[in-house]
Amino acid sequence: MKQKFMNKNMRNWLSRPEVTMFFVLLAFCIVLTFSSDYFLTSTNIMNILRQIAVYAILAVGEAFCIITGGIDLSVGSLIGWAACAGAYASTLGASPEVVLLVILAAGLLPGLINGVLIAYVGLPPFIATLGMLNIAYGLSLMITNGFPISYRDTWIHQFGGGYVGIVPISVIVTIVIVIIGFIIAKYTIFGRNIYAIGNSEKAAKLSGIKVKAVKVAVYGLTGVLAGVCGLIQMGLLNSADPTFGKGAELDVIAAAVIGGISMTGGEGNIIGVLIGAAIMGVLRNAFVLLNISGYAQTVTLGIVVVLAVAIDSIRRRREEK
């Protein structure tokens, strides 16, 4: 009897989407180890991790937006905007400390505006953040005249280009953010309110949750995380470019969904998001290693995303019955 109970728990655990996706990730890695000699070299692994870092940081914020039942399409262009705003401030003579603050504020502010438009004005998240995507991209083109701004060799560049031993600092930042995201989701009142809102806004309101304030906070947080990504990109390339993060929103949403965040809101695990981001990063790397053409890459990525969501919805339907 006891034995049987254990098996059932085990089976439940194995059927969780993030666990399934972990094995998918593992399978990818094993296949790549055998098909490319280069895959398991430390240089390559660090490259993958750096790639994953940006996806994972953004995906944590995106996951929270999706869990509330919304979506944030502006995260990609906010990366470029935040980096450009910071570099622009430096051309006006700002110290690295001020540049850091400008970058984070440049992420936070549009995020808060997204939240206010969605929660208080009542715009659909899709529309509000689509608008912000264009506004932010346009603004960064305006302040840079469309050219990258060179900005190099300050201590804040360490976030993007620095190492501790052989580990990139950006990877450490990512790990810290994912852990904080996980703790918020699982162990804070705020986190649980996010899930509650995604389940039923009305029920959340009737339970005394300040739905609007929570939403503004979630989109604001996502904006700040986009700012962190801008900081990392700028540090890595020693310049700020309006095209940083262009189109990243789709990869990030894909990472969240692959990681088991339900597009209908209200459920999903932040650790899953990390795995989703890792799958996206490994895939991108595989394309390079296996010499797949850029056009075929795009097709493959599309198929992977559709497949992941299809598997997920089939699983949910089975669970419901």
């Binding site: 009142i189 649980r192 509650a196 039923s200 029920a203 309101k205 339970s207 005394g208 209200g266």
Partner: protein, 505 residues
Amino acid sequence: MEEYICRIKDVCKEFPGVKALKNISFDIKKGEIHAVIGENGAGKSTLMNILSGVYQPTSGEVEFDGKPVHFLDPKAAHAAGIGMVHQELSLAQYMTVAENIFQGHMPANKAGFIRRREINRKSLDILQKIGVKNISPDILIKYLSISQKQLVEIAKAMSLDAKLLIMDEPTSSLTVDEIDFLLGMMKNLRDSGVSILFITHKLEEVLSAADTISVMRDGEYITKLDPKKTNIQEMISYMVGRKEEKSYTRSFMTNVESKDVVMEVKNLTVPGKISNISFQLHRGEVLGLTGLVGAGRSELLNAIFGYYPNVQGKVLLEGKEVRIKHCKDAIDKGIALVPENRKELGLFLKMSVRDNMTIVHARQISGKVFMNVKSVESLAEKYREMLSIKTPNLEQKVVNLSGGNQQKTIIARWMMHQPKVLMMDEPTHGIDVGAKQEIYELIDSIAKEGISVILLSSELPEILRMSDRILIMHQGELRGTLDHSEATEVKIMEYIFDKETAEVS
């Protein structure tokens, strides 16, 4: 001519891990109203879903109109003459009555355009056939009342000359008058030769309307009863499987007016919803709140609870005026609300039983940021035991619980918060007899602890059995207050229809 329209032979249905139906066999005669009763989870809905083609039986056979049938989908069953009226209304809100009635088999001309005049005329025929006169076929569904929508559902089910009409709790959201009308309509249909299979939790209706009663329990067919020879007591005993089920009575409060006033509502108004409502609520009292659906009862509770932005008037708690701008203010001041429609307004369906129980009180026992995971867990466990909520564990998603246990989960949410005033909006709606009983006992013990309860219910027997005093609302106004000692169903109805001649939908 065959005597039976439908014969169910040895039907079993298994879902992964559950045997929902075990060897069900019974017959439905032509032109009879056949009621199926049983607690939630007895397998009634599964059976209806098999007859209407939603599910296929695992084994066994269904014979319809003399021939064995295997419906692969609801469309096939509908075409064969089985009409289903679902519990959840499934009408398209932004389409007309006629378009809804002919959904799925819209007559069209050669070019593929809908023959609108034809569907309007045919809809009118069908509506007239079931005795409905005041619904126009070209009005949008969203403008109809719930009871009118229900009637359109029935018309839709009848649109392909149904010989068997299956109705899943058709009266659960209707008021007394509307129910009378519906039951009358069912009898007319029966007299014109249609058989009706009808699931309900309201046993009085079964006695007054059914020709045959089938009782189900735990997926099994228990017995057939003759409504002329049985009574509610006997029906309940077959449903719950215990012979002696004593009807619940509580010891009422005497001298309610002498107890101290916990909450006072003064001239509460929400434009367009309720106007100028004043009443007092005493310590430990169960105050019943009733009236027709749409009388503004839920709106009154929501207004007190801070759900609407534009509330005029005052709410006083223990003599002091309180400002309630948001539900959070009401909760912080010690007011609680178990809302109507628990799936939409009460529960977080994809979240665990524990999270659903502690969503409110976790704020109180935790710091500013972090949840006190340990106390949350032990508190949830304590209340799960206290209210005997049946769930394999607290991690279970609440959507997987039965209606009664879901409702107890919400009640636990508020009990652990120790409110001064607990407002409950239709707390026994759609839950089975056994669980209802438990909720009645819970309400009683909550009141005995000194918490004041407002119990909103459309079911007069429930109101009469539970309330120390009764408030009666109609058209957004308070019509009167009755003490339990003077209250009867007739008196309550008299208050409602005081100034009006009977209004029938």
